[in-house]
Symmetry: C2
Subunit: 211 residues, 2 copies
């Protein structure tokens, strides 16, 4: 059961080995895995920023409650949501479908119109929450991909999104940061790696439904 | 690159082979993988209901815009959020840490108190959104686990949570359904399996940040 072993090996790294870098092949694998994440309606409202620059990481660390993982990790992944999910954005998705699958316009049109209407009715906050949900799903994928690829990671919600958006000039890219994930290799002396995983007993976490 | 191959093999199944069932080993693997999902603060605010009962699946299908996957799949996974995330719930987590890791009370207490305070300040809606985010993360994990385990799946947001909660009597369990995921095996004639995956070009989805 390789999958379960990998998930048990995974933990939220407290201390990265700052001397170890992910090689190009691993970074490319992570990028492709991210782009293959399932998203609601296939709209891909989440972008990934990949940071590998100690001077930037130092600033990002300061804006994440000084958590050392952000500076010490080989790379920092920033999950960002798109701010401009509008009719034009939705049309660009359907144009991609047409181009890649050669689906005729008249087959796609009813669903395209439904989606445009549906998103026009949503508030900005609704769209932000919807996109943020997709960022969490992407992070769930990436944590498992890392585990299976022997890459250490630390999923993090605790940082100042406002500061990150400023440091990374995300406004100009029409993006907002929502989650961050330093990746790399655990330090040999990270005491967290030795601690037992804390989980509910399986029967408190999973219910076999019997009618 | 087995991981990327698995993620490319995965797609949102439109038609399951209703004659094929997941064996017990695969179902157990899925349950354990779910329980190993990372969650915010380790609080595990998400429970998984596992349904394998055609009469129930028929009702659930009707409450999911009649989407056939819900009835035809081998099993249906229902991701539910806990409704009672309160001081007692948080204490039970720290009791688990004490029990499993033998961490002394005085080490845990400051963080326990911080979390209890923090959650007491949150509105019901904040807690629901926070827990729902964790359900999406869990689904992201499970989609990838399925792909790697050769299990087909269809992630779904489109269903009536109110109807699901009633059909599955989730109120009595203090749970609310937020996501569903039929799992099993694709039908040989599912035309969706043959369609090319639609994704943004990698350079539009992932940004290498250069300062």
């Amino acid at each position: 059961m390789e999958i379960i072993k990998a998930l048990e090996w995974r933990y939220a790294v407290k201390k990265f080995d700052s001397s170890k870098q992910l090689n190009e092949q691993k970074v490319t694998m992570l990028k492709n895995a991210f782009n293959l994440t399932a998203t609601s309606y296939g709209l891909q409202p989440v972008k990934l920023l990949v940071i590998c620059d100690k001077s930037v990481q130092k600033k990002l660390r300061a804006a994440a409650f000084n958590q050392a993982q952000v500076e010490d990790a080989s790379h920092v992944l920033i999950f960002c949501v798109e701010k401009g999910i509008d009719a034009e954005y939705i049309r660009s998705y359907f144009n991609r479908v047409k181009e890649i699958r050669k689906t005729p316009e008249n087959i796609l049109e009813p669903f395209q119109n439904f989606l445009i209407d549906d998103f026009e009715k949503k508030s900005k906050e609704d769209i932000y929450n919807w996109a943020t949900n997709q960022a969490y799903l992407a992070m769930g994928n990436m944590l498992t991909v890392c585990a299976l690829g022997g890459i250490d990671a630390c999923p993090m919600e605790g940082f100042s999104a406002t500061d990150y958006d400023a440091i990374l000039d995300l406004k100009s890219k029409n993006l907002q940061s929502v989650l961050i994930m330093p990746v790399g290799y655990r330090a040999e002396d990270d005491f967290m790696a030795e601690l037992k995983k804390v989980r509910k007993p399986l029967e408190d976490s999973v219910i076999d439904f019997n009618s």
